[in-house]
């Protein structure tokens, strides 16, 4: 964990020093709070932004490329692999992915691989292939090569559920300096705090970055039920059992014919 923290600090320091001050990003998110209610079926958030010269007199250097990386709350998940044992399919092997984002969207105006060279992308953790997904291997926690079967399957499964995605069309430039990014929030979106990292490139170099945040929260009844189940398990169970008895009794009263 400590090694990971050091590495992270190193990457952050490197990036902070990177962009030369010539452009500035101004962004605004359509909504900073996504409320998951009983009728929630997913939502699309829109991030608008402009590229401003900084200082005001400096020239702009289009064409620009933009990458928006949205990361959800951290989760630990286990990827399991089935194998045939004595004729039936059994989970035989598993890998734990430690503190990885429950939601990860990499949105750009064109394929991230064409925006900058592989080293830059890796250093900035841009794209699903380059994002750090640490696995517990024995007593060690580290990311593996991108072709690792567990890593590939993990990303694929998360993508199938709409939780991980990489889209090269989600960011559109309305004018050479005004852009719009569509952030999809699927129905099964995990609740928690989300970070939005906006990175501007020109000629394959990072020139400006900014960030924003949003919260996905369960509200009203859903929140109440989920909290009760987690914090007061025993009482919650008794209440559910009591509800079962009440409904059973109601039915027998309503339908009693004798």
């Amino acid at each position: 964990m400590r090694r990971f923290a050091i590495m992270f600090a190193f990457v952050t320091a490197l990036c902070g020093a990177g962009p030369a001050a010539a452009e500035r990003l101004v962004v605004s998110l359509s909504n900073h709070r996504v409320a998951v209610t009983s009728s929630f079926v997913g939502e699309e958030l829109v991030l608008f932004g402009t590229i401003e010269p900084d200082p005001v007199t400096s020239p702009l250097r289009p064409p620009y490329d933009l990458v928006v990386t949205v990361t959800g709350p951290r989760q630990t998940l286990r990827t399991r692999r089935k194998q045939r044992v004595l004729g039936i399919w059994v989970n035989v092997d598993s890998r734990e992915f430690v503190r990885v984002p429950a939601y990860l969207a990499v949105l750009s105006n064109r394929s991230v691989n064409t925006i900058a060279n592989p080293d830059t992308l890796r250093r900035l953790q841009i794209g699903l292939d380059n994002f750090l997904l640490p696995q517990r291997i024995g007593s060690d926690v580290a990311d593996t090569v991108r072709d690792d079967p567990f890593r590939r399957s993990f990303v694929r499964l998360q993508t199938q559920q709409g939780l991980y995605r990489e889209s090269s069309t989600a960011v559109t430039f309305l004018t050479p300096t005004v852009f719009r990014a569509a952030i999809p929030m699927p129905a099964a979106v995990p609740t928690g705090s989300y970070g939005i990292e906006v990175e501007l490139f020109t000629g394959g170099n990072l020139v400006a970055r900014t960030n924003s945040a949003l919260d996905v929260i369960k509200t009203g009844f859903e929140q109440y039920v989920a909290d009760a189940a987690r914090d007061y398990g025993l009482l919650y169970g008794m209440a559910t059992a009591l509800m079962a008895l009440l409904i059973g009794w109601f039915a027998s009263v309503i339908f009693a014919r004798d």
Binding site: S38, F40, T76, R80, R81, I88, W89, R99, L234, T240
Partner: protein
């Protein structure tokens, strides 16, 4: 209309779930069973995780068996003494089942355990029911009278010590098989998310010679208590009971059961047993198919913890 389930953490169509409750309720009313062995697989099929399905179905079965038990109580067709005796070990069985459920979940083998128990239990019980009911149907067709229960017939079970007399059922048996049956039903119910009615009724008839008049009512009391306690235990240890899902299922289930009971009363006993046997067997085969055939995706994800 979609509704978001707070514990299963996914939106489902409310009418689909209500319809499933009605359909399973109809079948359970028709055969006098809880229907958990149908409901749990159905919930897994619509995308609810096996663990949440098993835990939630227990509360649904508690509701439907309470309705059933009440109507048998009014007809004085249940044996409270026998039910209490079965319960004393049933609770222990349920607690053991919930404990094993938690352990297996931690080892990533819960889905396998659920699958294997479904296959073995359902195919064996289903095949036995089909065999027995087909024989009964053939016998009546050939004009031979069905073999009646001989009151004096004894098995080795009747030679065991700690004998007890159950007045309402008019039986005099050892406490050991009664406890064993209660334990098995409680255990299997907690692991598989089934009430065990389709297992308990034949066990009570064949092993303890409980008369048909009191057998279903007594079985329902046992199912009610083991499933209500399984709900509480699953909620307290695994936090997996989805009350919203349970509520929709219960409402559908108790309504469906009323109509099912009416259909069931119009059918001949052995026909009913044959149908139930076929159904049980088919569900077992479905699970066997899933275990044996290569899955579409060899990989699967499991949530460990947040952070």
């Amino acid at each position: 209309m979609q509704i978001y389930l707070p514990i299963a953490d996914l939106p489902v169509n409310i009418f689909l779930v209500l319809g499933m409750g009605l359909a399973v309720g109809y079948i359970s009313g028709m055969f006098g069973i809880g229907g958990g062995f149908l409901m749990t697989p159905l919930l897994i099929f619509v995308g609810i995780s096996p663990a949440v399905a098993v835990a939630t179905v227990s509360s649904h079965i508690a509701a439907s068996s309470f309705t059933g038990a009440l109507s048998y109580w009014r007809k004085r067709a249940l044996d409270i003494a026998l039910a209490l005796m079965l319960l004393s070990s049933g609770i222990v069985g349920t607690a053991t089942g919930v404990w094993l459920f938690t352990e297996l979940r931690a080892l990533d083998q819960l889905d396998l355990m659920i699958g294997v128990s479904y296959v073995t239990l359902l195919t064996i019980v289903g095949a036995m029911m089909i065999y027995e009911s087909v024989r009964a149907i053939l016998r009546t067709r050939h004009g031979m009278p069905a073999t009646l229960r001989r009151p004096g017939s004894h098995t080795w079970l009747h030679g065991l010590p700690f004998k007890l007399r159950f007045k309402r059922s008019k039986i005099y048996v050892s406490a050991i098989p009664v406890w064993a049956i209660g334990f098995v039903i409680g255990f299997v119910g907690a692991i598989m998310g089934i009430g065990g009615g389709f297992l308990l009724v034949p066990m009570l008839i064949y092993f303890l010679r409980v008369p048909t008049a009191t057998v279903i009512g007594t079985s329902m009391v046992l199912t009610l208590v083991t499933m209500a306690s399984a709900t509480v235990m699953h909620a307290a240890t695994n936090h997996l009971v989805d009350a919203v899902l349970a509520l929709i299922l219960m409402v559908g289930g108790v309504i469906g059961a009323q109509f099912g009971a009416r259909t069931g009363q119009k059918m001949r006993g052995e026909r009913l047993r044959l149908l139930l046997g076929l159904l049980v067997f088919a569900v077992g085969c479905r699970f066997a198919y899933e275990l044996v055939v290569k899955p579409d995706d060899l990989y699967s994800l499991r949530y460990v913890r947040s952070g």
